[in-house]
Amino acid sequence: MSKLSEYSKTGHKSGGDDVGTGTDELVVDIRELSKKYGKFTALDRLSLSVGKGQILGFIGPNGAGKTTTIKILVGLARPTSGTATVGGIDCVAAPRQLKRLIGYMPDTFGSYDGMRVGEYLDFFGAAFRIPRRTRAKRIDEVLELARCPKFKDLFVESLSHGMRQKVALARTMLHDPLVLILDEPANGLDPPARIEMRQLLLDLAARGKTLIVTSHILPELARICDRVAIITRGRLRAIGTLDEIARQLNPQRTMEVLLTEEGAVDRAAEVIRRHVEAGGEVTPSPTESAVRFRTAKSDDAIAGLLGELVSAGLGVIQFREVQTDLEEAFMTAARVGDAEAAADAAKAGLT
């Protein structure tokens, strides 16, 4: 079994040092969660946890099982097996208690025509039994927090998509939930609104809220999430910080050497080829006066390579590791998922 598969089976990773603003206190805990619709397995023994104040980016291709996981977490679906708790409350056993702990913002707004925004929020406030005296104040607070205090008197049906997203977020925060689960919150927002939304989510995490955010805008997600979980075909492929995920998915890292002269590129490439593993990928780029290579060697070995390049009289002006971005990690995870699925299918065919 591959390292990745092993990881996906246990799934848990301590919140500890990989969490930016969060703490070790677990708020969301999912263990061996499976969901089957007839013969189709939507979720396959998914396990993950999120600590207090953390922002977890939950990503995966369409149909990967993200919405199913969210539905189970918010009490809208029952798992076939496994457990999920939020704030210690079992999502299956106590769904009504759970609803007070979770604020869920689905990808569709859910508009009631003929209502003003203030009335719309007042209805949800009343549904959550927020006392009248504090409700009006709370509505003003969440509208302020969602950066849309002037929307209060507007009719819900006349709001633009971006405005609706803000109102939906205000609705989600209305009952002051412990966990916010946001499905594509930045979808349809213009750049300024997206920056605002990003800042808002960071503010909420700083206030101790736990956030689970799904998005297909991966660079956006990479900027706010403490940890990322990648799910494909119902299985957790990786979870952790971006660096951890990159290492889990691909043990090799990409290094870049920037040289003073274009003519030194080929010589530098020769030196590097001697050092990297057999079949290691070395890509000279004369136009950029740079050489990129991939290696699984240790930091000491790489430091030795730098010394050799300098001893060879090559003018090295930069020697650095190229950071893997979330998109690359996601694509690698998707490929691993596809390969596993193909292998499973072949195995099933043979039996």
């Binding site: 539905k71 769904p95 689905p106 025509d113 003929g114 007042d122 008197d153």
Partner: protein, 551 residues
């Protein structure tokens, strides 16, 4: 072929529901003819028997057209709008006219297929022989086809203007009421007179398909009181329905051509933000100011009830007050007419007319109000939000049912002054009218529950509305088709058994309304309707609980 027709009609015809509807219709129509098919060697040369069957079947088809057809066009365009597919259609090379013709063709095509399924039975009626030109099958179908086109174009017009399926349904059915019933009123009061106003009333009456169908089937018009009609109602109706259809089509297409997706709605200046004088002025002119920020929902009230009333155009307090005022004016008008000129009718006639009016209002409005209670939430994606609140299934259901019960109660109370007039005319009769009033209450409960059950069973509001009308009209009015064939072909026990199932017939029977006074329908009907209502409530509670549960 227009791609919209292909999508809407062919896809619909491929469904099992459509096949089942066609088979059921064909079987019912065939059975009707079989009942009257001569078994002996004697032939009915004057055509009375075939006309009896044709009447049962003609009024049944008219009820189907009036109650079922509008549900489909009413939700056709608005559904595309809500789901965002109208933008795609308008962005395609298709012109607004092509889109409109596609939509119209889709709905009309299905209606035509359903009408066509009934034609063999109609032809068999004709084959029974002796049918006069007045009772001609072709003419009946021509009138029904014109009514279908008229109501479809009206529904599409409303659908292009509204922003939600349930609002479109309510408006469409209110307009159907306006088109079918209101044109009859002026003629009803002015008939027998002469002058331009009578001619105008006679023309206006022809906007409704009811007199045309009645003339085709050899009956006199509604409330003709023995006076003969000119006999030109059918051509007038065909002409007027064509004109109104063209008018509706032009308005719809021009609306589609502008920008139907522009949902901007100005918020206006809130009263609290106005100057002191502005606030004072509005205080004088508005008893309940619509521009005033609403207060927070009191936790003693069910929030779903308040939400339903706030989202319903006529649910807000200022509209409720306007509706009450309108009802009061109408009741006073009715009282004036009853006291001044119609005392000769007798209190039984007055009572019967009031019951019929209330019945019609109930049958028309209750399904349109209640059939979107759950289906509209599921269709619009808000059901998930409701499920995410700590509200229990019971609380949601209570709020929803009360939100329908409240306007229905107001509607019923709006006609109470008529009973007061009756009490003045003949105090003894007032005591006797208590039983019909109980029957109407039972009808209202049954109609609300049946429509709510339909709403919980279907995801599409249009399908739920059609099903709700089918159930309510089927139970309340279908026994009247048997009653139309009283004495022949149906005997007294058969008619009595059929009428015992209809709470409306029971109400008319209790009021000793002419034609219903010979039947003993109570308390059997209360037991039947009450039992069915309890069963429906049970199904509704179960279904709501099921829908609120995790998947």
């Amino acid at each position: 072929m227009n791609p919209i027709i292909r999508r809407e009609l062919l896809d619909l015809l491929r469904t099992r529901t459509a096949t089942a509807a066609m088979i059921a219709l064909a079987v019912v129509c065939s059975l009707l003819v079989l009942v009257r098919w001569p078994t002996g060697g004697v032939s009915d040369l004057n055509g009375a028997r075939s006309l009896q069957v044709l009447r049962v079947f003609g009024y049944g088809l008219l009820a189907g057209v009036l109650f079922l057809v509008p549900a489909f066009p009413a939700t056709s365009i608005v559904w595309e709008k809500v789901n965002g597919t109208l933008a795609l259609l308008l962005n395609s090379p298709m012109s607004p006219w092509s889109i409109y013709i596609g939509k119209l063709g889709g709905v009309l095509g299905f209606a035509v297929v359903l009408l066509a399924v009934t034609t063999p039975a109609a032809a068999a009626c004709h084959a029974l022989g002796g049918m006069s030109a007045k009772g001609g099958v072709v003419l009946l179908y021509a009138v029904l086809a014109a009514a279908t086109i008229q109501l479809t174009t009206l529904g599409l017009l409303v659908s292009s203007r509204e922003n939600s399926s349930d609002a479109a349904l309510r408006t469409t059915y209110a307009l159907v009421l306006a088109v079918v019933v209101l044109p009859l009123a002026p003629y009803w009061f002015l008939q027998g007179g002469s002058g331009p106003e009578v001619d105008l009333a006679s023309l206006v009456r022809c906007l409704s398909p009811v007199p045309a169908v009645m003339e085709t089937l050899g009956n006199t018009g509604v409330g003709d009181r023995g006076l003969g009609t000119e006999g030109d109602v059918v051509p007038r109706y065909l002409g007027l329905s064509l004109l109104t259809s063209i008018g509706c089509a032009l308005m719809t297409v021009s609306g589609l051509g502008r920008n139907p997706l522009d949902r901007s709605r100005p918020a206006g200046v809130m009263t609290q933000d106005r100057s002191l004088s502005g606030r004072a002025a509005r205080r004088i002119f508005f008893l309940v100011d619509p521009q005033r920020r609403s207060g927070s929902i009191n936790l003693l009230f069910n929030p779903v009830l308040v939400k339903e009333l706030r989202t319903r155009r006529f649910g807000r307090s200022h509209w409720v007050l306007r509706l009450i005022a309108l009802c009061a004016i109408l009741s006073l008008g009715l009282s004036y007419i009853a006291v001044s000129g119609a005392l000769a009718w007798g209190s039984q006639s007055v009572g019967g007319v009031i019951i019929l009016l209330q019945t019609f209002l109930l049958i028309l409005f209750v399904p349109s109000l209640a059939s979107g209670l759950i289906s509209a939430e599921r269709e619009g994606g808000t059901w998930r939000l409701l499920r995410m609140t700590p509200l229990s299934a019971g609380a949601i259901l209570r709020g929803k049912l009360l939100s329908v019960a409240w306007p229905v109660l107001l509607l019923m109370c709006g006609t109470l002054p008529g009973y007061m007039v009756m009490a003045m005319v003949e105090p003894d009769q007032f005591v006797r009218m208590q039983r019909p009033l109980v029957c109407l209450g039972v009808t209202a409960i049954f109609a609300v529950l049946a429509s709510a059950v339909a709403s919980s069973l279907f995801r599409s509001t249009a399908a739920a509305t059609a099903a709700a009308y089918l159930i309510v009209v089927g139970v309340c009015l279908a026994p009247f088709l048997i009653w139309l064939g009283k004495d022949s072909p149906f005997g007294h026990p058969t008619v009595e058994a059929a009428l015992a199932c209809s709470p409306i017939a029971a109400a008319l029977g209790a009021a000793d309304f002419q034609g219903f006074d010979g039947y003993d329908l109570l308390p059997l009907n209360w037991w039947i309707t009450g039992g069915v209502s309890i069963f429906l409530l049970f199904v509704l509670a179960l279904r709501t609980r099921q829908l609120c549960r995790p998947e």
